[in-house]
Amino acid sequence: MITATPRKDLILMAIFTIAVLTMPIWLAPIGASYPDLLQRFAIFGIFAIGFNILFGLTGYLSFGHAAFLGVGSYTAVWSFKLLSMSVVPAIIFGVITSGLFAVVIGYISLRRSGIYFSILTLAFAQMSYNLAYSVLTPITNGETGLQLALDDPRSLDNLVGVAATEGIPPTNFFGIEMSGYSGFYFCAVLMIIGFYISMRIFRSPFGMMLKAVKSNSNRMSYTGLNMRPYTLTAFVISGMYAGLAGSLMAVTDPLAGAERMQWTASGEVVLMTILGGVGTLIGPVIGAGVIKYFENIFSAINENVLQGIFSFLPEFLQDGVVAVLGLFVGEGWHLTLGLLFMLIVIFLPGGLVEGFSRIIDRIKNRSKNGEADPVGSAKVQPGE
């Protein structure tokens, strides 16, 4: 691991900011630079950053984070329907509601740890999903999903006299439409802010305390410390991140469906975090990007495209290659992702970030061959 110092954090923050804001350029060669996918990168980046505050720092594996994502989405859409098409109230209410929801779920679930905690959160999320799907249909519109309608009240908009349009008005941030690239930059800026906050939490005494919970919770309790307020705070913060991500999903695409709360969605964020690197700052963002890229680009490659790519091969070879590779793209993208996930968990338990740092270490070692090993002096823990 690279040691954290304020200076290095500053550099990391600067690189992260530039990298995120220039995504439309450097993602273009791999076909990922279109607004919808970029928005998803940023939104799920936020989701994963938030999840990592809980999982990465305290080691509490929540299997129900999608519930907060869904709550954020539904709240945001209701805010669009009842109050205003402005995204500001939608996001504020989305974050607050999911935060409150997290207090309730966290208060109960955090009485247990380890696998029992995971199962409790999973149960809560599945309950929310089923509620949204059936019992709460008047609020959630069930399977069809909550959508905007032309005759929604939008009372705040009417109050300030926003001119009525012929169709459903778009979501906006002080007049800027939240679709396309402007939507992406809005989400990206929020992700950068979220990343900064997460970094501050990682480096703060509070973050230290959470890490202590992770490394040995028994010892913590023997020293007479009540861990629950700390873990609950972490849980609520990460729930609010998820709520922010959920409301941003509604901002860029004003629709909320129950499937956002399904356990597969909760599992996805776990995969993202592990794939990128648990407990690292940047890892979850990378993991989120990789998974969303697979979901959107790999799933769209069909046999035709493959035939095009391998048209340079002789015909019999081409058909063979296409037949084999065809299993791994299109509807088989899950298979590719599964293989990638296995490889990473087996060979790089620290996720992609560990892979990068190994490469960097190797390069460094090669250039510094013969010099004294600097690792020992660099083992100072941050914030001490």
Binding site: R7, A14, G145, Y181, I192, Y196, G257
Partner: protein, 454 residues
């Protein structure tokens, strides 16, 4: 200690300012960037104008995973066949039977047709993500597909926001062209109301007017609207509705829903299920011995209001003798159906399903409307499709009604074939219900199409 805090403060300020500076820099930069990424933006006065390109792209967004995957796979085959025919390859299929037709078999408006595909996963979110990819990245001028009304309604409203025409695939809910109708969405498939209207008289003849019905309903827009329509029809006949139970989509196991039917006093079970759900629920209902039962002195009957050959294939023996309605069946003898079945069979070795049929027809109708309008400009294409009367597409003379973008044509009442002659000859046509019997006033469902220009 003080020292460290100071360092921290300093670094935070530094951090903040530099982050803000970087952000501002990038924002200024970004203000100019977006346009350079939109292909041909300088010449476009509408989204995804093919302009001077030699090709035009269509998007086919079908469920490749989930409860409706079989239908999705068949839809994709039909789309690929339609693209072939539009480009003048193959035997032309229904290009030769569509009347009036402006299609020339050289692509659309002289541009070669290309296509991209996507997986809706039968989820609104995934379907919209996939549709957005097609629109924003691939630059499609039209997209189509879908095998779920929930998804169709979700992507149809996206189509309206984006200004890209959506030609609905298989969607049977009244809402698609009812309360959730959109200017940019068109449906060739029939709907639940029409199923009810077509089935009513047949049910009366076969089962009489004193029946007690029990509904199992897929819990989403299509299920709700079909339950409502069938309930209205059967109650109009004098039947009593014992109970209506909602079941989740993709439940897999329906035994917990079927057991209560046995003791409910009902003598008809109406399965408002589709795809694998229907295969599972019907199979289980038969296994529970419902069809061998006698209730109220009558034979217990099962009705599947929306039927398809693919489902019949999945349900095997259990489908025999069961009544339902369908949009189209490959055994129809008119020239259009014959031409389509022939070219589909040559291509894939088996006859097409109703899902394939409607998707194929929709693609051709869109292409034809572009030719009629002489442009890809959506408002003009929409106007060409609205109130378009045509024939030769398999269901007799058909009208694309302008008020709600719903097609009106003959509807088939079918029964599971007791003695199939081949493995595909699974549905026997009981009655070809004429268009006049299934027509209704566009205003009964409410809803508004919205503007032409977006």
């Amino acid at each position: 200690m003080t020292n460290t805090t100071n360092k921290f403060k300093l670094s935070r300020r530094k951090l903040l300012t530099s982050a803000a500076a970087a952000g501002a820099g990038a924002a200024v930069f970004s203000g100019a960037t977006p346009y350079s990424f939109v292909k041909g933006a300088y010449a476009a006065d509408f989204r995804n104008d093919p302009g001077s390109q030699s090709f035009v792209k269509l998007g086919f967004n079908v469920p490749q995973t989930g409860a409706y995957a079989d239908e999705g796979a068949d839809e994709l085959r039909a789309f690929q066949l339609a693209v072939k025919h539009l480009n003048g390859e193959g035997d032309g299929g229904m290009l030769n039977t569509l009347k009036p037709s402006s299609l020339k078999g050289n692509g659309i408006l002289g541009k070669k047709v290309e296509y991209v595909t996507g997986d809706t996963q039968t989820k609104s979110d995934a379907a919209r993500a996939s549709a957005k990819r097609m629109i924003e990245k691939e630059g499609v001028t039209m997209f189509s597909g879908g095998s779920s009304s929930g998804v169709a309604i979700a992507v149809q409203s996206l189509a309206q926001e984006m200004g890209i025409i959506f030609m609905c695939g298989l969607t049977h809910s009244n809402d698609t062209t009812g309360k959730d109708r959109r200017r940019y969405g068109f449906r060739h498939f029939f709907n639940a109301y029409q199923s009810g209207a077509a089935l009513g008289p047949v049910l009366k003849d076969e089962m009489g007017t004193e029946r007690r019905a029990y509904h199992l309903t897929a819990d989403y827009t299509w299920g709700w609207s079909q339950e409502e329509s069938i309930k209205n029809t059967t109650e109009g006949l004098g039947w009593e509705t014992v109970n209506t139970v909602k079941t989740p989509v993709g439940a897999g196991d329906f035994s917990q829903y079927i057991t209560p039917v046995l003791n409910s006093g009902a003598d008809v079970l109406i399965l408002n299920h589709y795809g694998k759900d229907m295969v599972n629920s019907l199979t289980q209902a038969v296994q529970f011995g419902l069809r061998d039962k006698q209730v109220n002195g009558k034979n217990f009957e099962i009705i599947v209001p929306l039927f398809s050959r693919l489902m019949a294939q999945g349900a095997g023996e259990n489908i025999k003798g069961i009544l339902g309605s369908t949009n189209w069946n490959w055994t129809l003898q008119d020239a259009g159906s014959q031409a389509f079945v022939k070219s589909f069979g040559q291509e894939y070795g088996f006859p097409p399903s109703q899902a394939a049929h409607t998707c194929y027809v929709q693609t051709l109708l869109y292409a034809n409307a572009c030719e009629m309008a002489g442009t890809f400009y959506p408002p003009e294409v929409i106007k060409a499709l609205e109130d378009f009367e045509f024939d030769g597409m398999g269901n007799g003379p058909t009208l694309y009604r302008g008020e709600d973008h719903q097609c009106f044509k003959d509807v088939l009442v079918v029964r599971g074939n007791a003695n199939p002659s081949t493995q595909f000859d699974l549905l026997e046509i009981v009655q070809q219900v004429p268009r006049s019997q299934v027509e209704y006033d566009a205003s009964i469902f409410g809803g508004e199409l919205g503007p032409y220009e977006v």
